[in-house]
Point group: C2
Chain length 108, copies 2
């Protein structure tokens, strides 16, 4: 009813914005790096200063299980990927998704 009693404001968007798929993808990627520990993990991986989980744990003041959880979140967002290397797991950046994030932010 509020819409009827006022002159239209959003002329270019006649109806309410639906759940914008782009906005959701954007939010999902931004969410992945919306935590200081995950920012540092991503930076470590990009700089190739570390790639194995244990190395990352040594670089951060967090427990191994916590780091593993952050890695899981990053993996689910698609920003990183991990491949098994014997008993270890080597994580690396997913360049495609990283570029996607950069593109979305740059277009803001």
């Amino acid at each position: 009813m509020a819409k009827k009693s006022r002159t239209k404001s959003c002329d270019s968007t006649p109806v309410k914005l639906k759940a914008d798929p782009t906005a959701e993808e954007f939010a999902r990627l931004a969410w992945a790096i919306a935590h200081p520990a995950r920012v540092q993990i991503v930076r470590l991986l990009i700089g190739r200063e570390a790639c194995v989980c244990g190395e990352i744990v040594d670089c951060l003041p967090l427990a191994q299980s916590t780091v593993s959880q952050h890695l899981k979140i990053l993996k689910e967002s698609g920003l990183i990927q991990g491949e098994v290397d014997g008993p270890k797991v080597c994580y690396c950046i997913n360049p495609k998704q990283l570029e996607r994030l950069k593109s979305l932010v740059a277009k803001l």
Copy 2:
């Protein structure tokens, strides 16, 4: 103790990374847009399709109080700023912080 029993892995970072201020700033800005509704609000403000709170409410399928809360989060992150215009409040992007975010992401 874990550090003592293994050979050092992060040679370029002799000690554990402290709370990196840049990482925290980064996470804070990313957090601001880590929600679909906030992404849409930021886009509306950038495109100048809306700037008054009531207009934004009309554009989103959310209650006024919820939108106001998202606006508060965005304001606290520094990404937007609001100035009182009579009984209304006009929100607009803070270009400086937006550029800061873009810069941080681009340098990843």
